[in-house]
């Protein structure tokens, strides 16, 4: 028996207590996910609410396998909602078509002393285009083809945006005191 299996079954029966428990269990993490895309907290809350609404309404069709599949599905819903929100707000970034190689920027190995909150804060400071491609590729695990399809851009543009996002993130972390990353 997985941790969330019983809760999911009760949520399928429209049980409010189970819905609240599942919401409390994932809301914080998913809010951060939404914040990485839409950046503003109020927009992130709206996206989060719509995402949970879709999740609970589509739960009868959801086939529970394990807790990881539940979290992946929730994250996917939130990402789609975030992108939809940006489209509706016409806030999607404009990408310049460049085909710069991914190896144009040298990335140094990470420093384990860097706290997660610092990475999160630095990520939020990235430009929208960089941040979006970096989130989709690095954090969510999308491929460049999927990112290109989602954002209606070329695959090369996605790759170049990702390279620039990595370089800028390292630069931001260096500015925050992590000198070992050096210069790009």
């Amino acid at each position: 028996m997985y941790r969330w299996q019983k809760v999911v079954e009760m949520c399928k029966e429209n049980n409010r207590f189970a819905q609240n428990r599942l919401y409390e269990g994932f809301a914080g993490r998913l809010f951060r996910l939404c914040m990485r895309y839409v950046r503003h907290s109020q927009d992130a809350e709206e996206v989060l609410m719509n995402g949970f609404l879709k999740f609970f309404k589509g739960l009868p069709d959801f086939e529970y396998r394990d807790d990881n599949s539940l979290e992946v599905w929730l994250k996917r819903i939130m990402v789609n909602e975030s992108l939809m929100h940006l489209r509706q707000q016409k806030a999607l970034p404009v990408f310049a078509d460049t085909d710069e190689a991914d190896s144009a920027y040298q990335i140094e190995p990470p420093d384990a002393s860097i706290e997660a909150e610092a990475i999160y804060a630095a990520l939020l400071e990235l430009p929208a285009g960089y941040r979006m491609v970096f989130n989709l590729y690095v954090v969510e695990g999308f491929k460049h083809e999927e990112i290109a399809q989602q954002l209606n851009i070329n695959v090369g543009t996605s790759k170049s945006q990702l390279s620039k996002a990595r370089a800028m993130l390292q630069q931001l972390l260096k500015q925050r005191g992590y000198e070992q990353y050096g210069t790009i």
């Binding site: 429209n14 409010r16 819905q19 609240n20 919401y23 409390e24 809301a27 914080g28 993490r29 809010f31 951060r32 914040m35 907290s41 992130a44 809350e45 989060l48 609410m49 949970f52 609404l53 609970f56 991914d102 040298q106 990335i107 140094e108 190995p109 990470p110 860097i114 706290e115 997660a116 909150e117 990475i119 999160y120 990520l123 590729y137 690095v138 954090v139 990595r166 993130l169 390292q170």
Partner: protein, 257 residues
């Protein structure tokens, strides 16, 4: 693994480890909005429809239970009321537990009728009092041997009903107290529906009042004879002149004498 891949994996792992919500996250407000979206119909529906089928089943069960309890209560009241009435009716009645008030047996053809029996029959024939009217018409009943029918006491007014037992050699007439209603009940054919009527009745149901009247008449006559023997003049020897039954029987007895 290249530095790029290691960097990506490190960032992913660090971000996944962030479980705590940020300070600017208003979790409660989002949950309230989410609840309003998830259960919008439940707040608008009235109480009866809010619970869906459950409340309807509960209401139906409650109505059924109420009807059941009400029906039982009504039956209990009816039963207790009836038993109380019977108790009140039997209060002043002297009950003969084992001896039936009226015993109906098969008529014996070689039955010898004693003078007492003939007197009773004659008295019944000429009785014209209201109490006599309550008594059933003389009927000859033929039933199975040892078949006994008892008259239940229903109304409180006590009356005395004569019990006539048919004994082959010496039939006896016994008196037993019985409410007046038994007379009316005795009139009802339903109580004696098990018997077959014949043209010649063999047993009579005599009202006790008639026997009492007869005794009174005898006593009055005795007093009158005694007074005549002693040379007294008896005035109002009849104790109850308003009693039509007594007067009629008296007239009959006088005629007979």
């Amino acid at each position: 693994m290249s530095n790029t891949e290691r960097f990506d994996e490190w960032v992913r792992g660090e971000l996944d480890s962030l479980d705590s919500p940020p300070e600017n996250f208003r979790s409660g407000m989002v949950w309230q909005q989410l609840q309003a979206e998830l259960h919008p119909v439940a707040k608008e529906k009235p109480l009866f429809f809010r619970q869906g089928k459950d409340i309807r089943y509960r209401i139906a069960a409650a109505v059924g239970l109420l009807l059941l309890v009400g029906g039982m209560g009504w039956r209990m009241q009816w039963f207790v009321g009836g038993s109380v009435d019977n108790q009140v009716a039997n209060k002043g009645v002297e009950v003969l537990p084992k001896q039936p008030l009226v015993t109906v047996t098969k008529e014996n053809t070689d039955l010898k009728v004693t003078p007492e029996r003939s007197i009773v029959r004659k008295k019944l024939a000429v009785a014209s009092s209201p109490a006599t009217h309550l008594a059933p018409a003389p009927t000859l009943s033929e039933t199975e041997p040892n078949h006994e029918a008892t008259l239940p006491a229903i109304e409180p007014e006590p009356l005395v009903v004569a019990k006539v037992e048919a004994v082959p050699t010496t039939p006896e007439v016994a008196a037993a107290s019985m409410p007046e209603a038994n007379q009316s009940a005795a009139v009802k054919p339903s109580r004696f529906s098990i018997t077959k009527n014949k043209t010649k009745p063999s047993f009579k149901i005599v009202h006790a009042n008639e026997l009492a009247d007869y005794q009174k008449v005898e006593m009055a006559e005795a007093r009158e004879k005694e007074a005549k023997a002693k040379g007294f003049v008896v005035i109002n020897w009849q104790t109850n002149s308003s009693n039509q039954s007594a007067s009629s029987i008296m007239r009959y007895l006088r005629k007979k004498d």
